[in-house]
């Protein structure tokens, strides 16, 4: 599968790159916890903490800002606290960036690449917007609904345990999505979910409507395989999102994360208009092989490494 992917990118002229996995900064997304490593030696005689990257996004964006052109990377990524049937704290990512692309063109390329990786050139593709699915499946207007409205829907559909939960608006959306919408996504093929609410923009730019983000995800058999953005390029907006993320992290009792000044510097210098996507390679391999536990495609999972 890896050979198929590398051959594809070589053919279409996307450069393979490597960026550091242990860095002095990391993504600030409140839903992602990086693992910490400790370095001590020349340059840092007193030692310094290094974050094992939750994705290679920031370093790759610095390359883009330096004029790399289209690039891809196949690497390991690390997420603290994540282990289960579909999660392992160390996993493999394929991430690539296309200057000049928007969401639509990138979705086309993801389709091509994933069909290739699955060795299934005819697998059907469908696309739905986040708001449409909530409307048709749950009769909910995701823009108007308050956290209380969403909680009421969870209770009405008797999600046992929801009655005692404290969640914010996006937390309730995540719960409803994972219960009532996601299991059906990609039942018959590849399913792209697009136009996430602006509150879940992550590192995507907002759409002109101001209430949705240029972000998409790919699902197959109810499993999340990829997440893509028409990237935010505005350095000031990025700095504000970092601050907001760290604020949110502290309110959740999680440590703040050192903000990546070099990325902000690169964005000020000029990140080209581009779209980028990260694909979970272990899950892609699961789909290709029909495995139903990530353990089946890893050499040694957390319990055995």
């Amino acid at each position: 599968m890896l050979a198929d992917i590398r051959r594809y990118f070589a053919r279409v002229g996307v450069l393979e790159v490597e960026t550091p996995l242990a860095c002095s900064t990391a993504g600030t997304d409140p839903a992602l916890q990086p693992l910490l490593a400790r370095y001590r030696g020349p340059i840092f005689p007193d030692g310094t903490d290094l974050y094992l990257q939750t994705s290679p996004e920031f370093a790759m964006k610095r390359l883009l800002a330096a004029g790399s052109g289209p690039i891809y990377q196949i690497c390991k990524a690390f997420r603290d606290g994540e282990a289960g049937r579909l999660h392992n704290p160390e996993f493999s990512i394929l991430e690539w960036y296309r200057p000049g692309y928007g969401v639509a063109r990138l979705i086309e390329e993801v389709t091509t690449l994933v069909r290739l990786a699955l060795a299934d050139s005819a697998i059907p593709v469908e696309q739905h917007s986040y708001a449409d699915l909530f409307q048709t499946r749950l009769g909910l207007d995701v823009f108007a609904a308050t956290a209380e409205d969403l909680r009421a829907v969870a209770l009405r559909h008797t999600i046992l345990g929801a009655e005692g939960m404290t969640l914010d608006r996006d937390g309730w959306l995540d719960l409803l999505l994972s219960y009532f919408i996601q299991p059906d996504l990609g039942r018959d093929g590849l399913c792209f979910l697009t136009d996430y609410p602006a509150s879940q923009a992550a590192l995507a730019r907002l759409n002109p409507d101001g209430r949705t983000a240029a972000r998409f995800e790919l699902f197959l058999h109810g499993i999340e395989l990829a997440n893509g953005f028409h990237e935010l390029v505005d350095g000031e907006e990025q700095a504000a999102r970092f601050e907001a993320d760290n604020c949110r992290r502290r309110s959740l009792g999680r440590p703040g994360i050192r903000i990546d000044g070099r990325l902000l510097g690169a964005m000020q210098h000029g990140l080209p208009d581009c779209a980028g996507v990260a694909v979970g390679l272990d899950r892609l391999l699961m789909a290709r092989l029909g495995a139903d536990d990530i353990d089946g495609v890893l050499s040694f999972s957390l319990q055995r490494c």
């Binding site: 839903a31 046992l160 939960m165 219960y179």
Partner: protein
């Protein structure tokens, strides 16, 4: 009060939910790449036997239930309760018909049973997988029939009724699988 965090969830863990002791059958970690993590758990209520699915926000803590499984010796039934004893500590406890459930049909004095204790009191009793019981009543079968096909009902010393092959007679001992209620074999006295 002991508690467990969702990170400690695994099959067999005993929790106190809505006042009832429960055991985890299956625990699934559910997390969108960029969203809230949940634990979706399949749980059996140990008092009612009912299975339900419950969702927790990952990181929550849940009260632990003081539930242990012990191998205890069945002593006697006093008409209302079944009495058990721990062979090592000689501690005794009594189980009601609710806790005994199916096991009441199979156990006889001195059988070792798996007893689930909640705060020291039995809430569930499992009979041994195989028990040897004497037949107290069955129709006389045809001589020479050894095929076992068809069979006939037989009442056992505990009152349970099982189907046995035609050649089995009153007064004989048979081995029964308590999980299915099926006859396994005839036991010849040594």
């Amino acid at each position: 009060m002991a508690t467990y965090s969702t990170n400690e969830f695994r099959g067999g863990l005993k929790l106190l939910l809505d006042g009832d002791p429960c055991t985890i059958i299956e625990n699934e970690f559910v997390k969108p790449g960029k969203g809230q993590a949940f634990n979706r758990v399949k749980i059996r209520n140990l008092k009612t036997g009912r299975v339900l699915e419950k969702t927790f926000r990952s990181g929550e803590t849940v009260e632990a239930a003081d539930v242990v499984d012990r191998n205890l010796q069945y002593l006697y039934n006093d008409g209302e309760f079944w009495h058990f004893m721990d062979d090592e500590t000689f501690e005794q406890c009594q189980a009601d018909a609710n806790a005994m459930n199916e096991a009441a049909k199979w156990v006889k004095e001195q059988d070792i049973c798996m007893v689930t204790l909640w705060n020291g009191a039995p809430i569930a009793v499992e009979a041994p997988n195989f028990v040897t019981l004497e037949i107290t009543e069955t129709d006389p079968g045809l001589k020479g029939d050894t095929s076992g096909g068809g069979g006939k009902p037989a009442t056992l010393e505990t009152g349970a009724v099982v189907r046995v092959p035609l050649f089995i007679q009153t007064g004989e001992k048979i081995k029964v699988d308590t999980r299915t209620g099926d006859y396994v074999s005839r036991i010849k006295d040594e």
